[in-house]
């Protein structure tokens, strides 16, 4: 187990290294320059800045400096927001993105898993059909349509909900629902498929024949196997929710990382782009790792493999 963990972490480091290299090359291939602006900046100022950000050095040297700084936990100064460190920007705005992603995931789980179990148990009934049509709607309607609809439909009628803003935990609710709905739909479909598979197994028949209560059979025996595909999906989905919530952040004016990333990309802020990409890369690696660990904990067959 420990060996697997260490080798997986090693793999993760390789992935992150590749990610850093790819992004490093990609941003420098982009035409345009982080230091030139629409405003005319005097030549000597640009030269000074270029030296400050080490952009006057050869690319290989820049890469070496960058890797060295990362090893010390320093993501460098932002090139478009003067006087601010990339790490500072991330520390300041990432919590909102993380909270939004986590709440969205929780909502997706709370809706998706019960819906999936229910429609598997009542296969081909109207509950099943209704859930699956609802899931299809959740997958087909983009978040930037659901978001404004929820904002205007619910927030204007319920007094304690606001259309936009990020003050107290109640403000998390609408953006998180918007974010989590599509994921909830996927989880419902996956859970249904997994449950249908396990409900047909012999050991479920045995459990029923022993006279166990239906709730024990479903929740203790069938769910354990049936939830596996959903858990395998949750890891990557969580990372996608946290790193892909730009749109929701725009709709509901959440002060998250998304805006900074887009502005950084447009302003060619090399350090900011790289910092955000590395952060998301680490997040994806960790989420996949956690999902695998959870799978191994649930499914003994996976524990002794690899």
């Amino acid at each position: 187990m420990l060996k697997t963990l260490i080798s997986r972490l090693g793999q993760g480091v390789v992935v992150i290294f590749f990610l850093i290299s790819i992004t490093f090359v990609l941003v420098r291939l982009m035409p345009g320059d982080p230091l030139t602006d629409e405003k005319a900046v005097p030549e000597h100022v640009i030269e000074k800045n270029r030296a400050y950000y080490k952009l006057d050095q050869p690319k290989v040297v820049q890469f070496g400096y960058y890797l060295g700084n990362i090893a010390q936990g320093d993501l460098g100064p932002s090139m478009s927001k003067e006087g601010r460190q990339v790490l500072e920007i991330i520390e300041y705005s990432f919590p909102a993105s993380l909270i939004l992603g986590t709440t969205g995931m929780l909502i997706a789980l709370c809706i998706g898993i019960p819906a999936g179990i229910l429609s598997a148990l009542r296969k081909n009934s109207w509950i099943d059909f209704g859930t699956m049509v609802f899931a299809m709607i959740g997958i087909s309607i983009p978040s930037f349509v659901i978001g404004p609809l929820l904002a205007s439909g619910i927030a204007s009628k319920v007094p304690f909900l606001k259309v936009a803003g990020w003050g107290d935990p109640l403000d998390w609710l609408l953006p998180a629902i918007t974010l989590g709905l599509a994921t909830a739909a996927y989880i419902a479909r996956i859970t249904r498929g997994g449950m249908l598979e396990t409900l047909n197994q012999d050991y479920i028949r045995t459990a029923r024949a022993k006279g166990l209560r239906e709730s024990t059979v479903v929740l203790k025996h069938a769910l354990r196997g049936g939830i596996i595909p959903a858990i395998a999906y949750i890891g990557p989905a969580f990372a996608a929710l946290v790193s892909g919530s730009f749109i929701i952040e725009t709709i509901f004016q959440v002060p998250g990382l998304g805006q900074h990333f887009i502005n950084g990309a447009l302003a060619r802020d090399y350090n900011l782009i790289q910092g955000v990409v590395i952060l998301f890369g680490i997040l994806i690696v960790l989420a996949n790792l956690l999902a695998d660990l959870a799978l191994a904990a649930i499914n003994p067959r996976l524990r002794n493999q690899s």
């Binding site: 390789v14 590749f18 345009g32 081909n124 997958i139 930037f144 205007s152 249908l196 892909g244 994806i284």
Partner: protein, 321 residues
Amino acid sequence: MSTSHSLYQDAWLRLRRNSMAIVSLGILTVIFLLCFALPFIGSIGTPENSGFEHWFKDPNHQDLNKTFLPASAEHWLGTDQSGRDIFARLLYGGQISLLVGLVATSFSLIIGISYGSIAGYVGGRTDALMMRFVDILYGLPFLVLVILFSLLISEYMESLTTLLRDDWGWNAGFVTRFTNLIPLFVAIGSLGWLTMARMARAQTLNIKKQEYVEAAVSLGLSHRQILTRHILPNMMGPIIVYATLTVPGFILFEASLSYLGLGVSSPNSSWGILLKDGANYMETAPQLLIIPSVLFSITLFALNFLGDGLRDALDPKAAKD
């Protein structure tokens, strides 16, 4: 040859029994014809003599005296905030959205199938190395990379535009429209092939062990012949199904990028841009948001249902229940 023929005939029979999938197919056909045929008919000839000018207005024609008009015989779905005809904008935007879905899917099909089937067919260390590379790409933040990638390509598109327009004498409007789209196609397609490659590899590994491939080997067929004549045709079922399900994904993706202001840009428009514009006027003119979202959702709905139906038809073993 006759066996593969009957496989698709079988699939068609199974698909025809699935009423949801057939209805979806019909709806998609109508939407396709509307988006691609009608603007074409409308643009034939000059407005004075074609007789079709009422069918399809110029989607970029602004008239600030006619903003937010309700639906009428003149403007079938009314006009938007700049007095443009919503119906025309809807079809014009649909062209882009559908094109993005189809072209990006074709890109990822071509890359994914070649990559995956070669990895699976060659096997051994090459396979391991190629799939590790896919694993690494899987670990990258997709949205973020597509944004970077499309920004990168779009900057180089300017030189392509001047080349085609000034040196080769292509139609300026067409060139701008066309070069505007390439970054998006390439960015989405070149990063969206990963799952396709994994599927193609798994299929190839499976088929490689079949007797008919052994027979082909003993008959002395070349690797290329075995791959193109035996392995590729036999793995198309699941691949087609997956491709159908990625089309709505890519359409949605383009819409999200356009919503963020990073997708297609003027003079192009897409459903994503219409939805974005509509959301801005949600309070004063909700039809601007409602009309495109209804059409958009119906299209995605139909594509998803068709994909599900195709899965049940082409791949009975993987059917949901």
